[in-house]
């Protein structure tokens, strides 16, 4: 066990050093890919906070991401002087607001009704983005210019420079993911898991099930909204594809492929998904077929996700398996 821990730390340090060196090791086009991975990793972690930990299978999680993305886009467009961090905070808070809105109307529903309910709201948000052309510009989308990041001491840091954008994203996303990890270790994080495990038992122990669910959703919505804000910052453009159902579907896929039972499963899933997609999209336009098949394969044969494969490997590598299963 101790040895396993040590390997974990070594792995973590290796990954961290790699991430720091990415701008030196990879060509610019690949740095873009890593930025995308970081953004979606945050999105997938936020999804798993609700699903893996809170037990809330939100089919409409893309609505939180999209709301954050649109909020950021509008902030960039109409208030170019707004500090970047403030604009991103607005994105995150909009995601949170969307989560509170959708959550307060659906959190009392059970099981599949809840999932479908959130999905209905996802479609509603999409319809608003599509039809409210005076604000969202509908299908044509909104183009933005990346504002500079103002840092005390360093002055203006240009986000047009890919390396700067990369490091900025890396720092914020890492902080958020670590923050989420720590958050789950607090009593409030534990309350979320209680509600997942047995709603009625939690209620009879004095937990407010509804409020706890709303908190779970809004924390997830906050992070998803932030991810959406970064997505717009990165793409310098937003259109309805940021808020349509494929966003919800993508994040579900990432989390499930990676494994929802482990905190870092969704991160692994995201890396895998984005890299495979990048590779497949270069080969064929029909890459969804492969992704879909992969999803089916994982659901049928690897219910723990990719992360369970690693756990299995680790166990056998480190001799915890003593020759038999």
């Amino acid at each position: 066990m101790k040895r396993g821990r040590m390997y974990q730390w070594l792995l973590a340090v290796a990954i961290f050093i790699f991430l720091l060196l990415v701008p030196r090791l990879l060509p610019e086009i690949k740095i873009h890919l890593v930025i995308e991975i970081l953004i979606f990793a945050l999105f997938a972690v936020s999804f798993n906070l609700a699903y893996g930990y809170g037990g809330l299978l939100v089919f409409g999680f893309g609505a939180f991401f999209g709301t954050g993305a649109y909020a950021a886009a509008l902030a960039f467009k109409f208030f170019p002087a707004l500090p970047l961090l403030l604009a991103l905070s607005i994105a995150a808070l909009s995601g949170l607001a969307a989560a509170v809105f959708i959550g307060s109307l659906t959190a009392r529903l059970k099981g599949a009704y809840f999932s479908i309910g959130t999905f209905a709201f996802q479609m509603f948000f999409y319809a608003v983005a599509l039809k409210w052309r005076s604000v969202t510009n509908g299908d044509d989308g909104i183009g933005i210019t990346r504002p500079d990041l103002y840092l005390p001491g360093l002055g203006q840091v240009s986000m047009m420079n890919t390396n700067n954008l990369y490091y900025f994203t890396l720092i914020v996303v890492s902080l958020c993911i670590i923050g989420t990890y720590l958050f789950l270790k607090t009593p409030l994080g534990n309350s979320m898991v209680c509600v997942r495990e047995s709603e009625s038992r939690a209620a009879f122990l004095g937990y407010n099930v509804f409020l706890t669910k709303i908190i779970t959703l809004s924390t997830g919505g906050f992070l998803a909204g932030l991810a959406g804000g970064f997505f717009v910052l990165f793409n310098e453009f937003i259109a309805t594809n940021c808020i349509d159902f494929s966003m919800s579907f993508t994040v579900t896929l990432m989390a499930v492929i990676g494994g929802t039972g482990h905190f870092l499963g969704p991160v692994l899933g995201t890396v895998f998904y984005v890299v495979i997609q990048d590779w497949l999209a270069a080969l064929t336009q029909r890459w969804w077929i492969v992704m879909g098949s992969l999803f089916i394969f994982v659901v049928l044969y690897m219910p723990g996700g990719l992360v369970s494969f690693f756990q299995f490997r680790k166990k056998s590598l480190f001799g915890r398996f003593r020759g038999q299963k």
């Binding site: 720590l182 958050f183 270790k185 607090t186 009593p187 409030l188 994080g189 534990n190 309350s191 898991v193 209680c194 495990e197 047995s198 009625s200 038992r201 939690a202 209620a203 009879f204 122990l205 004095g206 937990y207 407010n208 099930v209 706890t212 908190i215």
Partner: protein, 254 residues
């Protein structure tokens, strides 16, 4: 003795089926009260009404002076009224210790604390460990609740019920599914842990009832058939006909 719980003319109607037809019942502070009656008499429904899972169609429920009829579950629970379930209701994937800790977190009002780590909270740890010992589960402290034997799960259930230091403990068939020996152990445990508390229980096993209860209420077809001391209930002709049959139970076996 003061009245702790007063059920006043309570009716419950499930889409046309009258389950409770005007139940009146008083639970005195400090007594061990058992509700018995044939299947379908409305015992569990009454439990669910008291704890807030269902709302009565008519009638009121008072806890002390408080009218708790329309209160949500969590508020009733925080008032000092805890229950166990007939079908074990625990947090299956968590360990025994974590199960109990969830209850303690609620007790010390740390449910929404998000600036401290749960693992580092000594006060919660101490109280949780005490509770694990109280229900004799030290040996399986770190096992997942789902992996425990049935009897141990029932003990854990009892532990969760007691965790919030309730004034009124409500046990829904605490010994159902037990063999005689385990049942006997459970009765001893219940006696031990409900000292200085008020106990209200639903139980089918008459031996357990007569061993534990100071007062018994017989429910039949949604009405209170009789209410009194174990001896009075034994003697009651109507109860014998409706429920007990000819068997005589030893009321002195304490």
């Amino acid at each position: 003795m003061t009245t702790l719980l007063r059920i006043q003319d309570v009716y419950k109607n499930f889409s046309g089926t009258e389950v409770l037809n005007g139940v009146n019942l008083e639970i005195k502070s400090g007594e061990r009260h058992a509700i018995i009656g044939p299947n379908g008499a409305g015992k569990s429904t009454l439990f669910n009404l008291i704890t807030g899972l269902y709302k009565p169609t008519r009638g009121k429920i008072f806890f002390g002076e408080q009218d708790i009829t329309d209160w949500p579950i969590r508020r009733i629970c925080r008032l000092g009224l805890a229950r166990s379930f007939q079908i074990t209701n625990i947090f299956p994937k968590m360990t025994v210790y974590e199960n109990v800790r969830n209850a303690i977190v609620s007790k010390v009002n740390n449910r929404y604390a998000c600036l401290t780590f749960l693992d580092r909270n000594k006060r919660i740890e101490e109280q949780s460990d005490q509770l694990v010992s109280l229900v004799n589960l030290d040996s399986v402290r770190n096992s997942a609740a789902a992996e425990l034997s049935y009897g141990m799960q029932r003990q854990l259930e009892l532990g969760l019920t007691l965790a919030l230091d309730p004034v009124l403990v409500m046990l829904d068939e605490p010994t159902s599914g037990f063999n005689r020996e385990d049942s006997h152990k459970m009765v001893t445990l219940i006696k031990e842990v409900t000292n200085n508390r008020t106990l209200l229980m639903v139980e089918h096993d008459m031996e357990v009832v007569f061993k534990l209860a100071d007062r018994i209420t017989v429910l039949s077809y949604g009405r209170v058939l009789a209410s009194g001391t174990p001896d009075e209930i034994q003697e009651n002709e109507e109860v014998r006909k409706a429920y007990l049959g000819k068997h005589t139970y030893d009321t002195k076996a304490k």
